[in-house]
């Protein structure tokens, strides 16, 4: 299941950046983007047969570039940047939850929330993502992580794998 989720996360993320932001990966930037500073993060919670969260973190100048590309504006405001990143997180999450299987409850995806650094530590400090990927673009880097609540608890981990 972990592999399936990772594949779904990768496909959804790449397609979303290409189709929505018109941004294409540049994998060879991997090394030069290694130490870019965290600039923004957005999280979307999902509820259903499993509950959890999708988290997207941007580094470099990606936060602004996403909003610029989506909204066709050169200098997007902070609100626009947060909304654009949130929408990306929302679309990716909606696509990834299908890889969890067709359950009885279906999935409800909550509105995205912009996170500050303290929130990030609180939300992800004790949890391990089930899947995570990194996409490198000319404008910066996106780290996208998919969490299932309780996944880091060994008993649950057994069930997922």
């Amino acid at each position: 299941m972990k592999t399936k989720i990772k594949k779904a996360l990768e496909a959804a993320s790449v397609n979303t950046f290409e189709d929505v932001c018109f941004m294409y990966q540049v994998p060879e930037l991997k090394n030069s983007h290694k130490n870019l500073k965290l600039e923004a993060a957005s999280a979307v919670r999902y509820r259903g047969d499993y509950t959890g969260m999708l988290l997207i973190e941007t580094r470099g100048n990606l936060f602004s570039a996403i909003a610029s590309n989506i909204l066709s504006t050169e200098s997007p405001g902070l609100r626009q940047k947060k909304d654009a990143l949130g929408e990306i997180a929302n679309i990716i999450c909606g696509n990834v939850v299908t890889s969890l299987g067709r359950g009885k409850l279906g999935y409800k995806i909550e509105s995205p929330k912009a996170l500050n650094k303290d929130d990030l530590l609180k939300k992800t400090g004790h949890e391990k993502p089930v899947a995570e990927i990194t996409l490198n673009f000319n404008e910066g880097r996106a780290d996208i992580k998919f969490f299932i609540d309780g996944y880091s608890v060994p008993a649950r981990e057994k069930k997922i794998d």
């Binding site: 189709d19 929505v20 999450c93 067709r102």
Partner: protein, 130 residues
């Protein structure tokens, strides 16, 4: 024939994405109207001439499902082409939309996919532009 289009989505960013994508299709576009939820969408339908509605599912006040249900109850709009644009993955929900005569486009989508679906449901083509 230029298409007057109603875009119903609670996210202003998503509405911008849809409108930008619509413009990229090079289809003949007339007026594009925006609504934040199904209720606003229904009001706009009463006030404006609209040829096609692009509707999200999950919205506050009135969601897409309810909006389409209300639309189909009204003789005036029972044949209005409706495209549901959503990242919804629940096959039951999607099937329900299809039963109401809507077409489903999954987010994210490429401009050419949206263009194909619009041509399919409205019969318009890019040759109608001039």
């Amino acid at each position: 024939m230029a298409l007057n289009i109603l875009v119903v989505d609670d996210s202003s960013v998503m509405r911008s994405i849809i409108i930008k994508t619509l413009k990229m299709t090079e289809l003949p576009l007339g007026d594009i109207w925006e609504a934040q939820n199904g209720e606003e969408g229904l009001h706009l339908l009463q006030e404006k001439w609209i040829d096609l509605a692009l509707v999200d599912i999950h919205m506050p006040v009135m969601d897409g499902e309810e909006m389409i249900r209300q639309l189909r109850k009204n003789n005036q709009y029972e044949n209005l082409p409706v495209i549901v644009v959503s990242s919804e993955s629940d096959p039951n929900k999607i099937e329900m939309m299809l039963k109401q005569g809507a077409t489903f486009v999954h987010k994210p989508f490429k401009p050419e996919i949206l263009k194909e679906v619009i041509i399919d449901v409205t019969g318009v083509s890019d040759e109608d532009k001039d």
